[in-house]
Symmetry: C2
Subunit: 271 residues, 2 copies
């Protein structure tokens, strides 16, 4: 239970201060932060809140969105990622989660977008190394390939990560994104030493109407969490296990109740 | 244009007779049939309709759903697939498309379900060989892994197909299901001699509310059809190109208008 981390998205209505208090009330020792609420509270203030509460910051979500074809848009995206790296360092986060972005408007060249991701990561690595922040490449469910993340498999994320020191570039293993992958066993083993973050939430059916809010509480869906937890542990990962749930019903519920349910389901389905 | 085939699902409101007439009116030489409307018309009657109209039957959809854990349910599923093979033979179809099925109710053992698919296919191969019908394994978008098809990649479908003669087991390359796959180039090349069917429709965003009706007309979404067509042709495939669209708006439109639009978009985006 000590490795359980509350990703702030799971209690989406809470500010940083509220989420920190909620973790303390529930005896949760780690939190995954998001940049927007961190900006609302102020980065220095957010850092002080988690530090004073004695919480670990298991991740900062999120950098990325680096598939723009060039010029000003690409430069702005890379600059914003350098700021995100700085924020992650100031917050004492273990890593910066990278959601790399989808196809640019009107563009259908998927191999091209993927090549630009590899190039963009290479451009960010020096700054990440300087600040001691690991860029955590998040392969996303192929459902999001067009509009959120052109990295679709762990193998593909590792192909990029392995071009850089493990201290600079790792990967996120998120059960929702990787559970279906027939190659997941081999790729998690390959990720040994590069697993930046292990995130859990469930794949539920029928598929909710909003693709961005389609994640379920552990136990409500089809994922065998213990199998995946054992695979990441066999690969040497002993860091925090973050619960990140985008779901309209979960967001509408009382956040303290969500945290209590999350602890129960974590014990029942993940541990 | 001679390779264009109308999959009956694209004009979902049409009976077999109406779809055959619609193809003839539009100068389309090939049709992909579905079992339910074929049963409504009668198998022999449907066979006569397509034969008398001089149409090719590019596929029969669909067999599959063979992930049941055992006993009576599994036996019934295999028997139904043998009937589907018989129907495909009677219709003169090039192949029987296999949608293998999702996880059984309450079951989370994905590797187990996948192993049962391999076993079920092996059981069906003798009957397929006897009737001269190729089982066309359809890898499905990982979106459907839980509830429709646990075969999620072309590579995985080929791992099963390659255990059998190519005349008995091939694969479907459906752009909607495979376009995101970072390994698609290598796997289509590997599929040379085993491509049973090439199906096209688009991946559209925002993702429609109903996951089963989320396919778009070519050109309305993000898929580079020409790239995928060239890959299947480089692998030696010169068969029909079927347009299969599950979409509420397409289904609500006048079917003759849908067929006309399909021809136009096929010329503009696929050829």
């Amino acid at each position: 239970m000590r490795r359980l981390s509350l990703n702030q998205k799971t209690t989406n209505s809470w500010s940083v201060a509220q989420a920190v208090d909620g973790c303390v009330r529930a005896g949760i020792e780690s939190i995954g932060l998001w940049r927007e609420p961190v900006h609302d509270a102020g980065v220095a203030k957010s850092a002080a809140l988690v530090r004073d509460a004695g919480l670990r910051v298991s991740s900062l979500c999120r950098g990325g969105f680096i598939t723009a074809i060039g010029g000003e848009e690409r430069r702005r995206a890379l600059d914003d990622n350098r700021r995100a790296i700085d924020e992650a360092a100031e917050l004492g986060a273990s890593c910066l989660v990278m959601v790399v972005g989808g196809l640019p408007e009107g563009d259908r060249d998927l191999p091209g977008a993927r090549a630009r991701v590899a190039g963009g990561i290479a451009e960010l690595v020096p700054h990440a190394l300087e600040r001691g922040i690991q860029l955590a490449l998040e392969p996303m469910h192929p459902l999001y390939c067009a509009d959120r993340g052109v990295l679709s498999t762990l193998g593909q994320a590792l192909d990029i990560a392995e071009q850089h020191p493990a201290s600079a570039v790792g990967v996120v293993v998120d059960t929702f994104h990787v559970w279906w992958d027939p190659d997941v066993e081999r790729q998690i083993a390959r990720a040994a030493g590069r697993i930046s973050s292990f995130q859990v939430c469930d794949w539920i059916t029928p598929f909710p109407g909003d693709a961005l809010l389609s994640r379920g509480m552990m136990g409500d869906g089809h994922i065998d969490f213990r199998r995946l937890r054992r695979l990441v542990e066999d690969a040497g990962y002993d860091g925090d296990i973050e619960v990140e749930i985008f779901n309209a019903d979960v967001w509408a519920a009382d956040p303290d109740g969500v945290v209590a349910l999350m602890k129960q389901r974590y014990a029942d389905h993940v541990l």
